[in-house]
Structures are given as C-alpha cells and as structure tokens.
Amino acid sequence: MNERTRMLDHYTTRVYKNRKDHVLQIENAPSSQEIAANTRTIPGIITNRGCCYAGCKGVVVGPLKDCLVITHGPIGCGYYSWGTRRNKAVAEPGGQNYLPYCFSTDMQESDIVFGGEKKLEQAIAEAVEIFHPAAIMICSTCPIGLIGDDVEAVAKRTEEKYGIKCIAFSCEGYKGVSQSAGHHIANNGLMKHIIGTGDKRPATKHAINILGEYNIGGDGWEQARILKRIGYEIVTVFTGDGSFQTMKNAHLADLNLVMCHRSINYVAEMMKDKYGTDWLKVNFIGVEATIQSLRDIAKYFDDPELTARTEEVIRDELANIADAVAYYKSKLKGKKAGIFVGGSRSHHYQALLRDFGVETIIAGYEFAHRDDYEGRQVLPTIKEDADSKNIENLVMTPDPQLYKQRYSDEKIEELRRELPLGTYAGMIRDMKDGHVVIDDFNHFETEQIIKLMKPDIFFSGIKDKYIIQKGGTPSRQMHSYDYAGPYAGFLGAVNFARDITMAIYTNAWAFVTPPWKNHSTLIGTVGTVGGDDHA
C-alpha cells in the first residue's frame, strides 16, 4: 500500500469516494495524472479553505492602497481581513494609503430585516466626507445577496453623486466553493471598471505589469528592484502595493507577467482578448526560477541590449548571494519538505526549496483548479458545475481603438515553443515518482500524510501551523511568511533559507522530551521493594 492509499484508508466509504479523486501519488513522472479540484468541500471536514469574500476582498481588491474598501455586512468579515495579510504598501507621492484602515457598514438586525442599502449609502457619504477617496470599493458579505441589496445600483449612484470611481463586488461568502470564486469576481470588476480607463503611456519601451503579486512581506518590491535594475518599467501591479491610479493604465503596458496563476489568470486572458497584451507565466520564487523568468522576459522582448543587461544583473545578483546560498545549502541539503498553500505557491516554492537541495515530497493547494495542477491544456476538458456556473464569465472582444498585438500569430507560436507565453504547465509535471499531491487538503490528511512521509519541514497556514509543530515537525506559514520576508527574488531566497534553517535547527527542539521520560526513576531490585504480595 502506498502512502496515498494508507492515508485514505482511514476514511468511511462515503468520504473516501469523494476524497480519493483529490489525492494522487505521482507515477511515471513527468506525470499527466488527473486530479479532482475546485469542487465542494464535504461538510464537516476541517478544511483550510476560506470563502468567496476572502478571495475577492482579502486577496485581490484589499491590497489596492488608494481604494477605500467598504465591507458591506456585519462586522466580522471586515474585521478579520483588516491588516492581517501583510500586503505591504506605501502611498504614492501625494496619494492615499488605506491599508491600515478597516471600513464596514457593521450591519445590525434592522438592516438585515429592512435592507442595508440606505446604511451603505450613508456609510459612503461619511467616507467621502472624511477621506475624499478617488475610489471606493464595496465588498458584499453573505447576508447581502440574501436580503437583496442592490450594491451595483448604490455604486452607480455613488459615481454620479460624487464623481468618483465606485465598484461593487458581489462576493458573498457562500458563492463558489472556495476563495477562488472571489478571485474571479474581483478580476471581472477590475477588468470592467478600471483597466483601460487611463491614458498615461509608459515612458520607456519595455513596460510590464506584474499580475498576481500581492507584495506579502515585500515580495513585489524585491521583484521590482530586480526588474528596474534591468531597465523595465512597471506600469502597475495586481495588486500588491498596487493602486487604482496606476491600474487604469495597465492596458498600455507591453507585457503581463503572471505570478499567481490562480488568482489573476482571468485578467491576463481578458487583457489578451481585449487589448492584445501577451502574458507570460513567471516565477520569481527561487534563484534558478527567477533567472529563468528574467531570461524568458528578455527573450520575449528580443532586444540585445536588454538581454545583455539581464545577464549582467543576474551575474551581479548571484555573486552577491553566493556565500549565503552555499552556507544555507550546507544546512538544508537532503531535507524533505511538504507544502500546502493556496493556488500557486505550492508550485513556486518547490523551485526555491530545490535551490537549497530540499526535495518537496508532498504538495497541495487549497483552492486551485485542475489547470494549476495539470496545466492549462486541460481547460477545454473541465466541465462546469453548478457552483462554477454561478460565477460570471466575461467574454472580451478586441477593443477597436486600443487592441494592439505586439507580434504576429506566427511569431507568437514560435515564442510559445520556448516560453510559457499565455500558458502554464502546472505543478504536477515538476513532481517526481512517489510524491503525493492533495487538493483541498484538510487537517486530517495533513496530520496523516506527515506521519506517513515524515518531511523535515512543512509549510502551510496559521490554522495548520501549531498542529504540525505540536506533532514535532517544524512548520512555517507560507501565507504570511511568519511575519518575515520578502522571499522572492535573489535577496528573498536568502531570507527564506535563513528562516527555514532556524525553524529546523532552533534549540528548543532538543527540550521536547523531558529527561525523565527516557530514564527510569525506579531504583531497586525487582521483587524486594515493599515485600508484600499484591495479590
């Protein structure tokens, strides 16, 4: 019995029937095994998944620093998504930064009974009076859709009344099966209302957007540092340290770089269809991965000067971290890791771990779709179900004025043979025989698979962290980086290696078992103590 079978063996038939398709053990790598994903979690299972609101407000919309995001609903949802996701941001000169703030309509019982639209409009009036924002975003929580508040109408009236941008996101928590639905809803809103509304053209000839980079722990800033050294101009970032003001001009960039495929591929595809902007799948997590991505971007632009500069920067950056990389590799080589994160990092971080000689033997996603596991080629074969059908799928047509394709179709086909241009091969292809892949991993499976496969370190989120650590396995949070980072790019790789080295080697591990547990405290000869019989 392999580890997969042994893990699933604990389940009742009912649960087994569902979960068996979400777990696979790699055979004949590079594997093209199929996995079930983006389907409902079984009620009662201690899943790590969050909700649609978390994906929309928490992930995509929330980091936009110059947008005043009002959570429309009872207080909890706004409260929990307040300042906890570590999307770092600094206000643009003269601009605003709303990230340290939480705004909510704090709905009360009467608002649920009589409707919350009036309260929302009043909240917007107060927000405008106090803050004078350039843009307001409304994110709906569960009750809103049920009581039928027309948030889109409120947004429209707000735009008319105050002459500012106002976008409503109907991202009620129950929509879809995970955060993923919220990503899609957020992508749609940004595409419909922001992208393409600006006219500030880039000043240079190599202008890019970074998509799906949320600047957790400053990851986006490390990427920007490297890209700017080479000479790229960054028009906007979706959405870490991003802004409404810069996102308006996103369509004027030359190329979209996609980091987190899951959360932002919709924008990438829609921009390709509407504006002709190509997208390139990149990974700036890991030294080798970063180098590969930088070379891929240079290849796309095909400018000898840019290519030379790219190689120069790579050489310089590598020299700068060489000693640290060698040191941490000596500490980490041969270790085994497990990683369960959201929808792209479980793949990205395998590259970074590989840089230091660590093999990832268990990997899984919380809310990925089959294309994140198996590659985008499976997209036409994915059947829509009741849950995914409810999320609007926008179809874009070329914009008559703004559509511009950089290269001919033939040239793009040629580039595609060398570059992940407009495509993504997925995680599974990078995994080896015997490795285990788990979709929508839950607490029970996490605990079981760690017992069975004994990784030296396990990466997951805060809900798992202390479970894993109490079980004796070092654990680092891969959503929040345990309040450290950045982990991206060259400098980030060293930060990451330092942090996992300390997680494995910290002195406290030596004290877990008290000395008396391995030592007999009974001194004497059997049969002589007491002298009485115990019968």
């Binding site: 009620p43 009662g44 299972i45 790590n48 340290p100 202390y466 079980g471 078992t513």
Partner: protein, 454 residues
C-alpha cells in the same frame, strides 16, 4: 501611520472604521473550545470558520480546531439542514469528539435555518452530544457569542437531579487560559469546590509534548456542565459577559447567582476572595494576604511613575472595566475608556468607577471604534494606551507607548499564559505599565537627566 485620520471629528451613523469588536461566532467558538472533547462547529460559509480559527490561533499561538457546514449557494437558497446533518456525521466519524457545539452565522441566521429542529432530527451516536446556539453576527459582538454558547450548553445538557453537588459554579467570561488558571488557583486556596465554565486552560495553552492532541486535557467536562443545575450558587465574574447565562441557570434550576466584576485590580480581587470566603467559610490564607501586601507595597514604591498619568483603555467591556479599576488603583487617570461592544451597562459601570475616584472629563463609550479613539487622542493625547494589538497603529502614529492587555493580542507571545486577574495579574500589569512609562522616560530624557537609580 494612519495619516488619513483627521483631527476634526464628525458624527458617523453608518460607517464603522477600525472596529473594536468582532462578530458573535468567534466568541461561541472560543467558549466551545473550553469544553473537554468538544469540537466547535460553524454553521455557515467556510470563510467564517476559517477566519475564526485564524483569529484564535493568532491570539493564542495554538491550534483552534473547528469544523464547518461549508455552505454553497445552493445551501444558502434551499437551507443548510442537509449540510449540517452531513457535517455532524462526518465529524463524529473522522474527528470523534464527545460533543459538537454548533453555532450559527449571519448566513444561516438570515436564511432562518432551524438548527434546533435539525439536531432533534439527527441520528447522534450513543453517548455523544450535539448542542447549538444562535449567534447572529449582526447582533452585539463576540462577547454575546461567548455567552450565547454557554447558554447553548446549559440548555442542552444541564439538569437538576435534586441532589446538590456542593459546588459553586464560576463563570470566568471571555478571558485567557492564564486567567482561568488563576481563578481556579484562588478558588482552590479558598477551599471552594467549584466548576469553572467554560475553561480553556489546558486547551488553548496546551503544552508541547511532541504529539498533537486534538482534544487536550483541559476543558469543562460534559458531566460538569450537566451538574451546573445542582450547584449551590454561581459566581459570575464579569456582569456584561455572564448575566444572561447566570440568569438562565437561575430561571431553569433556581441556582442563585452573584454578579461580580472580573477580578482585575485589588478591589475586584478582594471582592472575589470575600465571596469565596463567604461560601467556604474559610479565612483568606496567608499566602494570598502576603501577595496582596506585596502588591500594595509595589504600588507605594512605584507610584511616582504612574500617578496622574493619563491612559486610554479599549477592548471588551468586562476586561476594560477591570483595567479601568486597576489603573485608578495605580493613581492613573483613565481619559478615554471605550469598547466596540454595544452594551450601555458598560458606560454606567465605568462612569460609576470614575466618579468614585473623582475623575472627571473622561470619555466613556460603548459601541465606539478605534478610529474615534484615535481622533479623541489627536485632540487631547494620553500618556499610555492599554488594550489589544490593533491599537499599535495609534501608538505608532501618535508616539504613545502601548501596553497590551485583553483581546486580541496578535503580535506578542506568552500573554495568554499569564493572568490579568488576581493579585498575580495586577502585579504583572503594574510591572508592565510602570516599566513601559519608565522606559519611555529613559529613552526620551536628556542625557544629563538619565537616572541610574529610579
């Protein structure tokens, strides 16, 4: 930091900014974790359970185990009863708790799921229990959720056998495991047989032993909850958290109760001990008298660093009331005392305290938020902030030192292991407040004014 907060205050009727409360279900989840071998269950979207578990894990740095009904759009339209039934079956199959404590969410409340009827209709395995409470997120705060869950347990489990158990029920309210341990220590020293309900010590401060225990040793047992109806009386520590469950127990089983402030500060601790002494007829032992004497000694020794220092206190109603009392005993002047929880008793309690010490001109508000607190501070600053982690942005923006106490503390370690309550708790907080103010003096004074001896 918080650069967009204007000094000019305007009236807000609808917009909550930087809240000082959260929603009911997280309180219910925390209360349920204080029951032995209980798995809290969130009847709503996955996000609710995920957020609440995250919040609790960030505060306690511990696992916070709970399951969810994983509502989809279909369940939201047609009702979540089916999801709940499936969930309960799976929870018993996979996680094997002795009891599942269901709380609702704004989702299941808005669609009107009848959880009680659903539970009544379930096949529950022999010897296992499912209880529930209603925790609509749009009413009150996490404090309401906490006591609603207590009532859920009482409603389902508690009985009166007619034979008194000779025990006193002690309700500690929404406090840390460190506080619960100290309350138990005090009751033990006062020789009062008791049932602490709920009791998260041994659960949310469980030790590292090299293996994960889904149900650690701690928690009030089902038998103890059942036996609450046979208790001699109830000591409800924290009237704003405990009045309702105490009244429920009185109404159903005629168990009398005494409402006491949370024993934070000397006076409130004295009162708690006097009540315990009344019950057990035991004298306060020298051990506690000695500790009290040490505390008063410390206050007299260090008073010059705290006397007339102004403080802003924010957080949950009973804890904030206790901290206000404590600060007054230290000779400090509470200038702003706020809670986000909408409970008007809070303003009455705190105002009465301030009047007793002759403090005038303080702003005392329930249903307030940290944005309002910040604006107040911008207009008239204070020497110290006392409350949870979200105040750190105000502390940074206004360059005011912050001493963390209460909920949530997401950005520091160890706090949940140590008490705020009892003389022990006050000695700890006095050290923290005094040192913080003295560190500030050291850091900001002129070189020639740096004192070697203070």
């Amino acid at each position: 930091m918080l650069d967009l907060t204007p000094k000019t205050m305007t009236e807000r009727k609808a917009l909550r900014i930087n809240p000082c409360k959260t929603c009911q279900p997280v309180g219910a989840m925390y209360a349920a974790l204080g029951v032995h071998k209980c798995l809290p269950h969130s009847h709503g979207s996955q996000g609710c359970a995920s957020y609440h578990r995250t919040y609790l894990s960030r505060h306690f740095k511990e696992p916070a185990m709970a399951s969810t009904s994983s509502f989809t759009e279909g369940a939201s339209v047609f009702g979540g009863g089916g999801n709940l039934k499936t969930a309960v079956r799976n929870v018993f199959d996979i996680y094997n708790p002795d009891i599942i404590a269901v709380h609702t969410t704004c989702l299941s409340e808005t669609i009107g799921d009848d959880v009680g009827a659903c539970i009544a209709d379930m096949d529950i395995p022999e010897g296992k229990y499912v209880v529930h409470t209603n925790t609509p997120s749009y009413v009150g705060s996490h404090i309401n959720g906490f006591y609603n869950m207590m009532q859920g347990f009482i409603n389902y489990l508690t009985v009166s056998t007619g034979t008194p158990n000779g025990k006193t029920a002690i309700f500690p309210g929404f406090v840390n495991p460190g506080d619960m341990r100290e309350i138990k220590r005090l009751a033990g020293l006062m020789k009062v047989p008791f049932i602490l309900f709920p009791d998260t010590s041994g659960v949310m401060d469980a030790p590292m032993v090299g293996r994960f225990e889904m149900y650690p040793k701690g928690g009030t047992t089902i038998n103890e909850i059942r036996s609450l109806g046979d208790c001699t009386e109830v000591l409800a520590l924290g009237p704003m958290t405990n009045t309702e469950p105490a009244e429920l127990l009185k109404k159903k089983f005629k168990v009398p109760f005494t409402l006491l402030p949370l024993p934070i500060g000397i006076e409130a601790t004295d009162r708690f001990l006097m009540e315990l002494s009344r019950i057990s007829k035991a004298d306060v032992p020298y051990e506690l008298e000695e500790q009290r004497g040490q505390l008063v000694d410390i206050l007299l020794d260090s008073h010059q660093y705290t006397y007339q220092k102004t403080v802003a206190i924010y957080g949950d109603p009973d804890i904030v009331t206790g901290l206000t009392s404590l600060c007054l005993e230290m000779g400090m002047v509470p200038k702003y005392v706020i809670t986000g929880t909408p409970m008007e008793e809070f303003t009455k309690e705190v105002t009465a305290l301030l009047e007793r010490y002759g403090v005038t001109g303080a702003v005392v508000k329930a249903n307030s938020d940290l944005f309002e607190l910040h604006q107040l501070i911008k207009n008239e600053p204070v020497d110290l902030l006392l409350g949870g982690s979200y105040g750190k942005a105000i502390a940074k923006a206004e360059n005011i030192p912050l001493v963390r106490a209460g909920f949530p503390i997401l950005d520091r370690y160890v706090h949940s292991y140590l008490p705020l309550v009892g003389y022990t708790g006050m000695i700890r907080i006095v050290e923290r407040i005094t040192n913080t103010l003295m560190d500030r003096q050291d850091a900001t004074c002129a070189d020639e004014d740096l004192e070697t001896v203070m």
